[in-house]
Amino acid sequence: MQADSPSCCPTLARPFVLVGGAALRVLARTGRMGVFFGRMVGFTLTPPVKLRRVVSRIHFIGFQSILVVLLTGMFTGMVLCLQGYHALSRFGSDAFLGPLVAMSLIRELGPVIAALMVAGRAGSAITAEIGIMRNGQQLDAMEMMGLSPFRYVVVPNFLAAMVSMPILACLFDVVGIWGGYLVGVHLLGVSGGTYMGEIAVYLEMTDIMGGIYKALSFGGIIAWVCCYKGYYTDFGAEGVSRATTQAVVTSSVLILVWDYLLTSVMF
């Protein structure tokens, strides 16, 4: 019988043993995630980088996410414009519709929603792929050849996500602003010149760079969490399925938490 098993303890101590055991497990997992992050960054900074593999992962994570990002970007911009117009028109400030849509998208919604889409589409697939490689002993086989799975599996995903996310966020922003233009100008009757002109007046380079930095870090979070969950997946189809779900949920929550922290520091 294990020493930390609650059944071996007096009844009064059991809740403490349970809570303590759970806390230790959480700490151990957090520590392992931290070590994984350190190794991922370490291997990224140490050549050689498998460029062909990175390009292939950019195609998967970035290029193949374009459609979903464009669609969500357009409808986000459209609905933002619709909501913003009704709020602004109450105060006679509908001229600021363009800046409202653009700044909301560029500073906040573009990076965040694009990242959530990529976590759902590509992140889950990354976890499943690495998890299946773990289950099929392909990662062990790589280690037995004296090769590090980090260099071949983890780093390419990390670099590809970091490259892809800012581009996807920018596409999201552009299409979102265009979607807002369609609704604002053609549906609600705001002047096209005012919509675009006010954006140019109010939008600053720091807003754009802030959005890009956010997207960059979200790419890192997606690759980190999804690779980690796949790397340490449990065995069997159920294990891979659980890891995939956890990867999407954890990376989505971390993206939102990190977004709040970055926003509070940057803007």
């Binding site: 099929g136 002993q137 086989a141 037995m144 050849m145």
Partner: protein
């Protein structure tokens, strides 16, 4: 030389190895046999450095596996070959690319030289002409032979086999064992093979180690198995309780 010294290992508090000791001399080929689920693969994974013992140590060529980290461990492993139970082929790569993978990553050979070596390795295991196929398109026997070709192509000094004939029909299994025997005689690697092919496995190995209840209960030449003092060993070999 491989030297396993008093290795213990437990998973979730359940002891699997309770003091395993084994010494495999250079060039020697040892069969590790025992009942299913008794920790044979765990022993092999310790030797390969994929697991670390709770106590005890594993020495390979004078280096302690559990003390090695990072590039030192990768350098030693570059001298290893490992044929996994399920083959562990990279399923997105063709048979040819699977065998070529270690050559591309660990050597400075040109593509022409790699092609020559891979074709030679595939021919040696009877897979000439199957290079373009993906792992999902070939039979279980071909998967095992591809895994063997991938392990052999780097001409390792140490070669480990984790049940290389499991799931194969008797004829294919015998073919794989004959192939392993031929490779051992030609290359002279130091090897450990886990197998349930009793008594056929005894024809190709120098010694047999019997793992029972977390301990090596017999270690010696196959000829001495039937006269072993331990009744559990005799039962395992004869298949009679």
């Amino acid at each position: 030389m491989i030297h396993i010294e008093n290795v213990t290992k437990a998973f979730d508090g359940v002891p699997v190895l309770q003091g395993v000791s084994l010494r495999v001399a250079a060039g020697e080929f040892v069969a590790l046999i025992g009942r299913s689920g008794y920790g044979k693969s765990v022993v092999l994974r310790h030797v390969a450095g994929l697991l670390r013992p709770d106590t005890g140590r594993v020495m390979v060529d004078g280096q302690e596996m559990s003390a090695l980290r990072g590039s030192a461990l990768r350098r030693l492993r570059a001298r290893f070959g490992f044929v996994f139970q399920g083959g562990a082929l990279f399923d997105s790569l063709s048979v040819f690319d699977n065998v070529a993978f270690p050559l591309r990553e660990k050597t400075k050979c040109t593509e022409g030289e790699i092609a020559k070596q891979v074709e030679g390795a595939l021919e040696r295991v009877g897979l000439a002409g199957a290079g373009e196929k993906l792992p999902g398109q070939i039979s279980g026997g071909m998967v095992k032979r591809t895994a063997l070709a991938r392990a052999l192509v780097m001409e390792p000094e140490f070669l480990f086999f984790d049940e290389p004939t499991t799931g194969l029909d008797p004829l294919t299994a015998q073919g794989v064992l004959d192939l392993i025997d031929e490779c051992h005689r030609n290359l002279g690697f130091t090897g450990i093979i886990i197998s349930h092919q009793i008594p056929r496995i005894f024809d190709i190995v120098d010694k047999v180690a019997v793992l029972q209840d977390g301990l090596i209960r017999y270690f010696g030449p196959p000829a001495g198995l039937e006269d072993a003092a331990d009744e559990a060993v005799r039962q395992l070999v004869t298949g009679r309780a």
